[in-house]
Amino acid sequence: MTSPHEGPQEAPIVPPPPGTIADLFQEVLPDVEFTATQGAGDVILIIARDDVPRVLRTAKDEPRLDLKYLRCLLGIDHMEGGLEVVYQLYSFTHGHGVTIKTRLPLDDPRVASATPIWKGADWLERETAEMFGITFEGHPNPVPLLLPDDLTDHHPLRKDNPFAQMEEWQGMRLGDEASKVGHIPAGYESIAGEGGEEDGG
């Protein structure tokens, strides 16, 4: 089980300063709902799931944006908050980049595929699909990329997927005090930090 954080906290939405690419997007697509926030590096735009194909297509084709380079495509599991798909785009001609995110509900994780727009999205979407269980509609070849074909019953990167058990150490039986993860041998308590892994055997 992944270790519980002290309650996961969301980052506050900080609107970006004027003049960034968020304004350009708002100009080019005035009827699409954006939530723009300034991340630690790039501007992040949060859009609704159904706007995704239009926004991505415009981002690539519109000459003022010209975001022809898909850098990264990933998924995030927000547990109750649903799944999220993140697109990281960059433009060589203008030198600007943007992060586009969209949330998917847990019971219906479908989103339009970006493969018709960028050819490089092919494998990235395959990987995100098998890791999270997201269906990319319109993907030409939705087979698993990294996982073996016959072992795709669960999705590894979801938060409810546990880590494997460490095998028992040589000579010790599972259940012995010394074989528990995080056990500190006698005499070493002073230099061991407090905490360590909370999940045991």
């Binding site: 073996p148 072992l151 590894p156 494997a164 460490m166 095998e167």
Partner: protein, 194 residues
Amino acid sequence: MAVEEADRDEVITPSRPLTGLEREAERLRPVEVQHPHALYREVLPGIIQAPADYLLAMARKSSLWPMTFGLACCAIEMMSAYMSHHDLDRFGIVPWASPRQADVMIVAGTVTKKMAPAVKLLYEQMPNPKWVVAMGACATNGGPYTRYDRVVQGVDKLIPVDVYVPGCPPRPEALMDGFIALQEKIMRDRGSIG
């Protein structure tokens, strides 16, 4: 007396200058040939007796041909061990790509569940006698990736391993140490291998 004197080589002590013919004869005198004689022919009558398994084990350990099975990062250290800085060729170890002619399988790297059938197939393709060296922490027990459920926690869950070389990755010297341990194991187990 006369016979002995005739046997000895003539030593010329010139009392007059040598003629041309004599100088030429001196120059062209052939060397003294000492016929080599094998000591063992005097000690043994031309036959060495040794146990067959001893000879076979010595032959096998001196020319272990590993199948190149570098999976991950340990493969780089394995290649470093083959190269000129830490030469493994001086032990008779020549990397050989085909499993059909290899003796040793060095599992260098993490074995994942996707790769597991290939590992087993390659092991079965190797002819007997064969040995397996599990190089690195990942092949020993899963290593730093042991908590992921798509990783086989150690290659000894699939195939029998003879030598474990710990490290992440083990130094080339450690791999050499592993090979020397394997050679000692081959000699020690010579009675039980065909």
